[in-house]
Symmetry: C2
Subunit: 411 residues, 2 copies
């Protein structure tokens, strides 16, 4: 018998019928003798409906009142789920963030959890009740309602699991686990049995939307075993763990291939190569709240240099406009941009102990005639920027090259 914290997202509780289905699932686990804490999101669409009401009134709604408003979404779901559980003869009690009490700082709309009081939940669990908690919300010291920001329900689930020292935190979603890559691009993509927190963080930061980055960080920090499963299908999902020595040897070098098409490339050519020039270019970009991802600088032969970096596609034109003045100021030749690019990354903790991963990657791409425009690496990830038209080919090629097409040998 375990203590399980389960989190069901907005799609999983999007209608009364789906809430009934979640109740079936939870009541089933309870009947098996597990102690159950369930975290739910707002019914899908509800948070957007509430935000639209607020925006009708204030373009930038007051953050404190925004939290009062949107926190009602999860409050509706906890009540409905408890009703559905009781209907099944499964005793249950709902808690808002404030009732738990999930204490946060006072940074409205993006608060951070500071402390969780587990007394009420423990008492209910001891009495055999399922505890149903509103995700995404808490209260500050003064009793003001706070929210953790979008997707914060995952964080609530992980934080409760850490506070209660749960055996597992299970995140139910509309996919049945973490995949080696997007199955819509590579039909041989496979669900991973297991992945490490670090790899998951890289996958998430590369655009895989399965889990919120903050929740993964939190789970890693407190070593909460985290599992991603489907609300709509049975199956073991993907377990996300610390995964130190034990299984690493059996692990493939590369766990997954991530990609995104959300970036655009901006190049300043013919820059006089003087110290501090990169900062002169990138400081105004940062000040305009444009996030820069990959940055590459090449020193040319003629004592000038080229600086290339990527930004979100939506920021490209704004950034080019911004830099047209800078180009004149610093005496550079020109600024050019290209939004037909894509970023493809290989991720795996195995890279730490294996040499030659980068060369395998570059060779595989070269054999398909795919030109690499930029490269950036971290300890467990290598990313390349390529022309967008080669994206699918590149992902399929790398998926094969790193042996992800085949079912792995069972450990």
């Amino acid at each position: 018998m375990s203590l399980l914290v389960q989190k069901y997202g907005g799609t999983s509780v999007g209608t009364v019928e789906r809430i009934e289905a979640v109740a079936d699932k939870v009541a089933g686990f309870r009947a098996q003798g597990h102690d159950m804490v369930v975290v739910v999101s707002a019914m899908s669409g509800e948070t957007n409906r509430l935000i639209a009401l607020a925006k009708d009134i204030q373009q930038a709604p007051d953050p404190r009142e925004m939290d009062v408003l949107v926190s009602t979404g999860e409050q509706v779901t906890i009540a409905l789920l408890c009703m559905a559980l009781k209907k099944r003869g499964c005793d249950a009690r709902s808690y808002t963030g404030g009732q738990v009490r999930i204490l946060t700082d006072d940074a409205h709309t993006k608060a951070r959890i500071q402390e969780i009081d587990d007394a009420n939940m423990r008492a209910d669990l001891a009495a055999g009740r399922v505890v149903v908690v509103a995700g995404f919300q808490g209260v500050d010291e003064a009793g003001n309602i706070t929210t953790l920001g979008r997707g914060g329900s995952d964080t609530t689930g992980v934080a409760l699991a850490a506070a209660l020292k749960a055996d597992e935190c299970q995140i139910y979603t509309d996919v049945d686990g973490v995949y080696t890559t997007d199955p819509r691009v590579v039909d041989k993509a496979r669900r991973l049995e297991q992945i490490t927190f670090e790899e998951m963080l890289e996958m998430a930061s590369l655009g895989s939307k399965v889990l919120q980055i903050r929740a993964v960080e939190f789970a890693g920090k407190y070593n909460v075993p985290l599992r991603v499963l489907s609300s709509f299908a049975d199956g073991p999902g993907t377990l996300i763990t610390l995964d130190e020595e034990e299984s690493t040897m059996e692990q493939p070098v590369v766990s997954g291939i991530a990609f995104n098409r959300d970036e655009a490339k901006i190049t300043l050519a013919g820059i006089p190569d003087t110290p501090g020039i990169a900062s002169k270019i990138l400081a105004p970009v940062g000040k305009a709240n444009v996030e820069v991802d990959v940055i590459v600088q090449n020193v040319g032969a003629d004592n000038t240099t080229d600086l290339t970096f990527t930004v979100n596609r939506g920021d490209m034109n704004k950034t080019v406009d911004l830099l047209s003045n800078v180009v004149k100021e610093i005496g550079a030749r020109e600024v050019t941009s290209d939004d037909a690019i894509a970023k493809v990354s290989i991720v795996g903790v195995g890279m730490r102990s294996h040499a030659g991963v980068a060369s395998t990657m570059f060779t595989a791409l070269a054999e398909e005639g795919i030109n690499i425009q930029m490269i950036t690496t971290s300890e467990i990830k290598i990313s390349v920027i390529i022309s967008e038209k080669y994206l699918e080919l590149a992902v399929r090629t790398l998926h094969s090259a790193f042996g992800l097409d085949a079912e792995p040998a069972q450990a």
Copy 2:
């Protein structure tokens, strides 16, 4: 400069546009220097939407979870109203019932207020903020969310006014005050400048839906000056007060004419006249949760008696079925029913000190050929049951007979 508690009902905050209009009104009062506490209901339709969700899951939804669910309706409104106030440069802060803290008993869905902590509200008022409070809700000792039952927002308003010793509690609604009778029936119906708590209670119990009975009782008990006004039009509305000695002398004998068509009449004829017979008849009716209103018993000449009483129209057939057995048991002649009846009442504290009010009423009706089927009286009210077809005529006749058509002389 006064401390005003204002309450705006569901229709008054039914859309974003109407919430903006309420914000205009409140910001105007604040600009005049008044300390403002505003109580709001859920946007019209919202409570019904939430109840429908619950009923989709449980026919008789768990009361604790029902309160968690429906209390979100008011929470949405407080946030939106605060945003609208801040947009107008009017500082404001929202409070749920639990945040105030409005302490209630634990009778979920029909809780009663036990205590109100005014510390937070006082601090905000002192800081110049408008305090916006969710109506209809509180928390019990254990921190569970409770609700006061439908229409409970009026009660919240009055209770806050009592706790804060406000100068006036103003209930904004979709009518511009309390009328001498329904203007749809009598076009000479006039708004009353003033009415007493007792009269208001009788009017409310007779079907006038302007104010919740509990709120009026509460206001009377704590002597909170209560005013009913329109959210949509300017005007002084109607003031509801204790009104002891001072102005009574100037007051008309009858303040208003109330009526309803919701009742049906049931008669048991030819009942052997033995002690306890009325109880034998009415006990099974009460057990079936049928509410009995007017009861009249006539002893006939032949040692039998007739018992006539009224019930809600919707309960008529059920009650007749129920009594067909009773009729046999007690040896009565027959049970008959009539749903084409109406109740018309005259209400006024002036009756206490004036004789002849009943005879004026009966004479006026007789002169129009209106037959009185039943009569019932209280200290400040006389009600008659008549044929429904005479309802409008009776109301108009009484409205004239008691001098309500004319504007009263200013005191």
